[in-house]
């Protein structure tokens, strides 16, 4: 397939996934804001999350203080800020439109109506948008998009590039959300102590892992298990291991003459997560582990772009 087509498909699915990740984060904090909690704790969690997502600077350029309402609106609806959910949906749709001929009609129509709906919600109702409803809707549209992708697209190259985009973005998002909460995992902290369950529920809900956790451990929430679930569980759809496994498998399916080294690195990341133990990660320190992981993930993204997407200059 055309390199440019692969590029658009890859970014289309990255942006949909990003919109969903942001919607989850907003949703989790929104629920927290409804609880009788100290506002400082919520504000602090929002700040840490925006910092991990590199949104803090853009936010502070527009708003003086971190207040839940203005953060929710900024992340969800801001029309000027390129990283908002609103703009992720727009960019996803623009990428889809550029290759609409390579998508099934169902997938194109799903992405197109998502954008048209988002636009009319934001433009007509502006500040009247109910944030809780909006992020719920974004999650539903993302689920729908993924379902239509898997259910209607041929499982060929085009499909594999959309999957690579989805899982790279998801790995990035999980790693950043963990980063925002890394202080709770500090080496000095006693990993067996039961922390504030509400605070932890934000983290778990943001990764759709709250119920999964209960199912997997049937026990109180401990930082050790949370980290294990989100990093090393192969059966947890948003864990780093699971994402890397999918990236590697899809990458192998699109292999070309120059992509051997990129595949090797993806395989290495997968193998590292597959064979390591929680003790080793905590021994290294979670912040350092996450930093290294994010930088390797970024390297992988750059290599995929140069091997498949951005065409090499022709002589």
């Amino acid at each position: 397939m055309l390199s440019r087509t692969a590029d658009h498909l890859y970014w289309m699915s990255r942006y949909i996934e990003r919109a969903e990740s942001l919607a989850r984060l907003v949703d989790a904090h929104y629920r927290m804001s409804l609880l009788p909690h100290s506002p400082e704790v919520l504000a602090q969690s929002l700040s840490a999350t925006m910092t991990a997502l590199h949104m803090q600077q853009a936010y502070l350029a527009r708003h003086e203080r971190v207040t839940p309402k203005s953060v929710f609106e900024f992340v969800s609806l801001d029309r000027e800020y390129g990283g908002s959910i609103f703009n992720c949906l727009k960019v996803a749709r623009e990428n889809a439109r550029a290759v609409r001929g390579s998508l099934t009609s169902e997938l194109w129509e799903t992405l197109n109506s998502t954008w048209l709906d988002a636009r009319s919600q934001v433009m007509r109702r502006g500040a009247q948008v109910d944030i809780g409803e909006f992020v719920e809707w974004v999650k539903e549209r993302s689920h729908l998009t993924r379902g239509v992708t898997v259910g209607t697209m041929m499982h060929d190259e085009a499909f594999h590039f959309t999957r690579i985009g989805t899982f790279l973005e998801r790995a990035d998002s999980t790693a950043r959300i963990l980063t925002a909460h890394q202080s709770d995992f500090e080496p000095g902290a006693d990993a067996s102590v039961v922390p504030d369950p509400y605070e932890w529920s934000v983290l778990l809900r943001a990764l759709s892992a709250f119920e999964v956790y209960r199912r997997a451990y049937r026990d109180v929430i401990t930082p050790f298990r949370v980290a294990q679930l989100l990093i090393l569980r192969d059966d947890m759809p948003r864990s780093l291991l699971r994402c890397c496994k999918e990236v590697y498998a899809n990458l192998k399916s699109v292999s070309n003459a120059q992509s051997a080294e990129t595949e090797r690195r993806a395989g290495e990341m997968h193998a590292m997560l597959h064979f390591t133990r929680m003790e080793e990660i905590l021994g290294l320190g979670l912040p350092r582990f996450l930093e290294q992981f994010l930088s390797r993930l970024q390297d992988l993204g750059v290599r995929i772009a140069s091997d498949f997407l951005v065409p090499p200059a022709e002589a």
């Binding site: 397939m1 439109r97 001929g101 954008w115 022709e314 002589a315």
Partner: protein, 471 residues
């Protein structure tokens, strides 16, 4: 010219034409609310499917629909048979003409067309002189605009031989009608049009460079910001071919390749939807970012087919149009089945004098204008507009032609106040490859504004489904 237009549906007040009878009976039975609801449904569907034109400078990502009217334009079989024969004849002659112009120029030597009309025409491409194209076909896809005059006669208003567009609306309008009113299709035997992309692909494959057994065809677009992008993406998808932009292609060793995830892949036929001027920055406009440097080298070497060929504009220019009936006689030795609209060529002294004396009754068109711009419609113009045009014509008579103001036929159409007659035309798409073929019908465009004769979508035009009845 008679001012009473031909009504496609009714002979006169109340009496329906035979081929419309079943439809009008059905229409009378429909409650107004149902029709209103169906019209709203059509709009919503067109938006969702993204059958839209990009409009810039308005609010974010604003896209406009081309209005779709739910009343079909119906053609009885016998009328279509004659039209089809006339269209095929005309396109055969036009292809023969372009071939001749870029080879021996016999038609000029025979004195049928004054040589300076061709050789000094900005659409004449000297780069094409002596190049042989597969099958001698230049205009693989031709959109011939047909109107019906007050006497009920079909006439050719314009030939579009460069990058004619609109066929996607023909296909989508049919799909929409079948979805909205399936019952109509069980009551009428409407000739299908869905196979257009298959016929187009067959034709494109049939004109691949000689020796290519399994040709790779691509569709070249200017990109997602082009107003006809929907059509480009739609046709590429329907044909199952790659939709490429200039940046996806490159030329090496006089052959054209596309950049793919698996490395360069050879391309044999380019169905291009960008103008000649932008195709190859090394030969035409050097500032073009849309084209492929070196494309013309590969073309001249016979390693790539471009459809439509470069230089077809020399045959669809308004200054050449008046000669098409002569071309048919010259190349095919037969009388034209569909005539032209009478045209005064203002470079001729006697035509100029007549036109200047009759401006308020005539339509004056700029020879190189397109899309309904640069045009004077005498009966609708103010005195000062007419005087402005008079000055323009006098200073550059050769840039204009004039035609009688046609009473374009009308078809009932949903207007704000309800069903009312509106002027229509018809653009059938004629495909040439190993043979010449047309899917029955074409795109019917309708001037939605009361009294307007301009059907272009850029100026308030809409479209209708076009039915050719099989019995």
């Amino acid at each position: 010219m008679s001012a009473t237009p031909y009504n496609e549906m009714y002979v006169n007040e109340g009496a329906g034409r035979p081929h419309y009878q079943r439809y009008t009976r059905w229409l009378l039975e429909q409650p107004a609310e149902r029709l209103a609801q169906k019209r709203a449904e059509a709009d919503a569907l067109f938006h969702r499917v993204g059958i839209t034109f990009a409009v810039y400078g308005q609010d974010e990502g604003a896209e406009r629909l081309i209005p779709f009217d739910i009343v079909p334009r119906v053609l009885p079989r016998e009328e279509w048979v004659r039209l089809e024969a006339g269209l095929k004849q005309r396109v055969r002659a036009l292809n023969a003409f372009i071939h001749d112009i870029y080879h021996d120029q016999q038609i000029l030597k025979a004195g049928v067309i004054p040589p300076e009309q061709i050789l000094c025409n900005s659409q004449y491409r000297p780069e094409m002189q002596g190049i042989d194209v597969p099958g001698g076909i230049y205009a693989h896809i031709a959109g011939i605009d047909i109107v019906r005059d007050g006497a009920g006669e079909f006439k050719v208003l314009e030939d579009n031989l460069r990058v004619p567009s609109g066929v996607s609306y023909m296909l989508e309008n049919r799909k929409m009608m079948m979805r909205l009113f399936p019952e109509l299709f069980s009551e009428h035997r409407v000739a299908p049009v869905d196979h257009y992309p298959d016929v187009l692909l067959d034709n494109l494959r049939s004109v691949a460079p000689t020796g290519v057994a399994d040709p790779t065809v691509v569709l070249l677009t200017a990109g997602a910001h082009n107003s006809a992008y929907f059509e480009h993406a739609f046709l590429a998808q329907q044909m199952g071919i790659e939709l490429v932009e200039g940046q996806d292609l490159f030329v090496r060793d006089e052959a054209v390749f596309m950049r793919t995830t698996q490395g360069p892949q050879r391309v044999d036929v380019i169905y291009r939807r960008i103008d000649d001027d932008f195709l190859d920055p090394l030969v035409f406009r050097p500032d073009s970012m849309l084209g492929v440097p070196g494309l013309l080298t590969a073309y001249r070497a016979g390693r790539i087919t471009i459809a439509n060929a470069i230089g077809t504009g020399v045959a669809d220019d308004k200054s050449i149009y008046p000669y098409v009936p002569e071309m048919i006689r010259f190349y095919l030795g037969s009388a034209p089945i569909i005539g032209n609209v009478h045209t005064w060529m203002l470079r001729k002294k006697e035509d100029l004098e007549y036109v200047l004396a009759h401006l308020p009754e005539l339509v004056v068109k700029e020879v190189h204008g397109a899309g309904g711009y640069g045009m004077l419609i005498g009966p609708a113009a103010t005195k000062s507009e007419i005087e402005t045009f008079r000055r323009l014509i006098k200073s550059n008579p050769e840039r204009y032609i004039a035609q009688p103001t046609l009473a374009l036929s009308t078809c009932p159409t949903f207007a704000e106040a309800g069903l009312a007659p509106r002027h229509i035309d018809l653009r059938p798409f004629v495909l040439s490859g190993s043979d010449v073929s047309i899917v029955p019908g074409g795109l019917t465009r309708v001037a939605l504004i009361y009294g307007s004769l301009v059907v272009n979508s850029s100026q308030g035009g809409g479209t209708k489904d076009t039915w050719v009845l099989e019995s």
